[in-house]
Symmetry: C2
C-alpha cells in the first residue's frame, strides 16, 4: 500500500507537545494515556485541566464533525492530537505512545514485542475496565444507574464471583510465565505500558469494590498482580503524579463506588 497523504507532512509536525482531549472531572479512560505521559515525563496538555476544555471534547465528538483531510472523526474520547495526527480509542493511543515514550518495544520488522504488550493491554481493558463499567451500566450507557440498578446488582455479583478472579488469575499466570522476564513486570523484564494499564485497572476496581478487592488481595492468590500494582505506585514520577492535582478524582466514570454492588 502506498504512503498515505500524511506521510510527508507529518515528518515536520511531531516536535510538539502531546494533546490529550478527554472529559474533565474523572480519571476514566483518559487516565491510561496520562499515566504513560507522566511516567515518561512527556510534555502534554490536557483538556481536563484547561479552561473550557470540555468544549474541545464536545467539538470532537459532535455529530457533524467529519474529521479533516488526514483523520477520520473520533466517536468518543479519549482523543490524542500530536501534530497532524488525531486518533481515538484508548488502546490505540497507548499503542502509538508506548514505543515513542520508551514504554514498549519499538515497532520493527525484527521485533514483535509490541503485539504482545498490546494484547496484554487490551485484555486488561476488556476485563478490568470495560466490564467494570458494565457493573453499573449493564443495560445501556444512555440510561441512569438508578434505572438499571437491579440488573447492576446481578451483574456485579457475577463480576466479583467469576470475572475478577478470572482476570486477576490470568495476569498472575502471565507474571509466572517466562515471557514476563525477571522483576515485577508483565513482559520482557522491563516496565511497559501494559503494566501501567493494569495498575490503573486495579486501582479502579479497588475504588469500586473495596471489600471484594481486600478479600482477593488477602487470599494470597494474586501476589504478583498486587506486587505489580505496588511497584507502579512507588515509581517516583507516578508517585508524584498521583499526589498532584493533575490526577483526577474518581467520580461518575468507569469506576464508581456503590456499596450495594460490592460484597459485604
Amino acid at each position: 500500500m502506498a504512503d498515505t497523504p500524511s506521510a510527508k507532512r507529518q515528518r515536520s509536525s511531531k516536535d510538539v507537545p502531546y494533546e490529550l482531549i478527554y472529559w474533565p472531572g474523572l480519571p476514566g479512560r483518559g487516565e491510561h494515556v496520562r499515566l504513560l505521559l507522566e511516567e515518561a515525563g512527556a510534555e502534554y496538555t490536557d483538556t481536563a485541566r484547561a479552561e473550557d476544555g470540555i468544549k474541545t471534547v464536545l467539538a470532537q465528538i459532535d455529530g457533524e464533525n467529519l474529521g479533516d483531510d488526514l483523520n477520520p472523526p473520533p466517536l468518543a474520547p479519549p482523543v490524542l492530537r500530536h501534530g497532524d495526527l488525531l486518533i481515538s480509542q484508548t488502546p490505540n493511543i497507548l499503542l502509538y505512545l508506548g514505543p515513542r515514550l520508551g514504554l514498549a518495544p519499538k515497532i520493527a520488522e525484527d521485533d514483535d514485542g509490541i503485539y504482545r504488550v498490546n494484547a496484554l493491554a487490551l485484555t486488561a481493558l476488556d476485563g478490568l475496565s470495560n466490564e467494570a463499567h458494565d457493573t453499573h451500566h449493564p443495560i445501556a450507557t444512555g440510561l441512569y444507574y438508578e434505572d438499571q440498578k437491579e440488573e447492576s446488582k446481578r451483574y456485579a455479583k457475577e463480576y466479583i464471583a467469576n470475572r475478577l478472579p478470572k482476570f486477576l488469575g490470568y495476569f498472575e499466570r502471565v507474571l509466572k510465565g517466562k515471557a514476563s522476564g525477571d522483576g515485577p513486570w508483565l513482559y520482557g523484564g522491563s516496565l511497559t505500558y501494559a503494566d501501567l494499564v493494569l495498575f490503573q485497572c486495579i486501582d479502579g476496581v479497588k475504588f469500586a469494590f473495596p471489600n471484594a478487592l481486600k478479600r482477593l488481595e488477602g487470599s494470597g492468590d494474586y501476589k504478583g498482580v498486587f506486587g505489580l500494582y505496588d511497584a507502579v505506585k512507588e515509581r517516583p514520577k507516578i508517585k508524584a503524579y498521583l499526589a498532584s492535582d493533575r490526577r483526577q478524582k474518581y467520580g461518575d466514570g468507569i469506576y464508581r463506588h456503590y456499596p450495594e454492588l460490592d460484597e459485604e
Copy 2:
C-alpha cells in the same frame, strides 16, 4: 527499550503459514482474522477445520498454560501463531496481519495511517461485535441466555433504538469525511482491514436483527455503510470464500438470531 529476546530468532521463522487457533462451529471473532487472510490469498491453517482442532484451542486457554519463553499465554481465542510469535486479541491480530497482507499502511515512522485504521477497527468491534454479543448476554458470559432473557430483551431494545444508529451513523460520517478518500472505503481511498471488520459486523447484525437492519438500511441514512458492505461482499476472493465451506455458519456465537430480541 532494548530488543526483546525474540528479535533475532524471529527473522528466520516467518516464512511459514499463518495458524489461526479458534473455536470450530461459528464465525465468531475468528472470522475477522479469516477475512483478512482470505482477501489476501494468504496461506493459513484453521483449527475450526482441523480434526481435533478444539484440543489446540483448549490447550492454549488452559488455566495451567504459562505461555513460552517469548509469548505470554492468551486468555481467550482467537489466537494467531506465526513462526515463533503467538498472539491473542482480535484487534491485535488484525493489527499484526493488516500491514503484512497489504490491508493497511505499513507501520513506519513517517506514516501514521495504521493508527487511524486501528481506531476504526476497534470502534466497529466495540459497538457492532462486543455490544451485539451483550444483547444476548447482558449479565454474564458464564450464564445461559435463558437465564438472562428478560435483561436481554431490555438491552436489545436499547441497542436497536440507540446504539445501532449511533455506530452506523458514525461510520457513515467517516465515509463522508475527506480522510476516507474516494470510493467505498473507510480510509485513504483503498480497502483496509477496517472495511473487512465493518463488513463482518454488519453481516452479523443482519443475521441477528434482520427486521431492524432491514428498516435501518431502508431508511437511506446509511447508504455509505451498506454500500461498503456490498462492495466487500462482491470482491472476488471474499465472494468465493463466503460460498465455500471454509466460512462457518452463524450459531451460538456473538451473533445469534433470537426473534424476541429483534424488532417486529
